[in-house]
């Protein structure tokens, strides 16, 4: 499959909210307090208020469900979500981001599918997001 870089996205998170064991698994919420994103076609900051709803599944993997708002350096707001899988045993953290925006300049985001290659760094999660061509 062909892809091209869309952005490098960094999140700042605050203390985890442990919901605990639910019928689907152990649920933890990682609040997003900020961050930044940078790519050839867009750059800006992550607004506080989003988060990643993470469920620890019975097979040892984590199911990710993230919602955040991105603000570009020229003032457009972009609603971003992803689902994904984190499998620490296999060093695998991959996501499927989707975007929604009303800003005409960034409407191309409404029409694409993407894949994120994630990594947990000491300063927070980093996702290299590629557009699927």
């Amino acid at each position: 499959m062909n892809s091209r870089p869309l952005m490098l996205l960094r999140f700042a998170t605050s203390a985890i909210e442990e919901i605990g064991s639910t019928p689907h698994g152990k649920v933890s919420i990682f609040p997003v307090t900020g961050g930044s994103f940078e790519g050839e076609r867009l750059r800006g900051k992550v607004l506080a208020g989003g988060g990643d709803w993470v469920t620890a599944l019975a097979d040892g993997t984590f199911e990710l469900d993230l919602r955040v708002t991105l603000e570009t350096d020229d003032g457009a707001l972009i609603h971003m979500t992803f689902t994904g899988v984190r499998d620490d045993a296999n060093h695998y953290l991959r996501t499927l981001p989707r975007f929604e925006t009303a800003a005409p300049k960034y409407a191309f985001l409404n029409r694409l599918l993407a894949v994120g290659i994630g990594e947990i760094r000491p300063e927070g999660p980093v996702h290299a997001i590629e557009e699927i061509l």
């Binding site: 991959r94 029409r111 894949v115």
Partner: protein, 150 residues
């Protein structure tokens, strides 16, 4: 991004159910009457019972696809597959597809992101991966080339 071929999947579409204009767009459900899949690590058929593609044509002309199918491998495992996808392209190309013509899949965007769930030990690797697929809409139904994201 590194990927490797997971499977090719042929899907047969039955008569669509036109739900019509709904608050999010124009909704249509395409039940699937069958199909098959084949790749280096799995092959089998698609079960018609719980398999369909829930389609929503948005105001910006993009078709959102919400495919849910049950796969049965040649050794009897059941695999649930769900994939969200987008399809769009030049109006004349989309019109030709609508008329059931075969068009070059390079002339439009038809991509999906499959996820899998299975309880069968031989295929649990599918639970742990995300995939991307490119589609080729033929008159009888789409052909998907599905790649595992490495």
């Amino acid at each position: 991004m590194n990927t490797r071929l997971l499977m090719m999947m042929h899907v047969n579409v039955a008569t669509p159910q036109n739900i019509g204009a709904v608050p999010h767009g124009t909704r249509r459900t395409a039940p699937l009457s069958g199909g098959d899949f084949e790749g280096p690590r799995l092959r089998g058929t698609l079960l018609p019972g719980g398999s369909a593609d829930w389609l929503l044509l948005r105001a910006d002309g993009v078709l959102e696809m919400d495919l849910r199918v049950t796969l049965r491998t040649d050794d009897g495992a059941l695999i649930s597959m769900k994939s969200f996808g987008l399809r769009h392209g030049p109006p004349e190309v989309m019109a030709a597809i609508g008329r059931g013509e075969t068009v070059d899949p390079a002339t439009y965007y038809f991509r999906t992101t499959p996820r899998f769930e299975t309880a069968h030990p031989a295929y649990t690797f599918l639970n742990r991966l995300v995939a991307v697929a490119s589609g080729d809409r033929r008159a009888e139904g789409p052909i998907y080339t599905i790649h595992e994201v490495l």
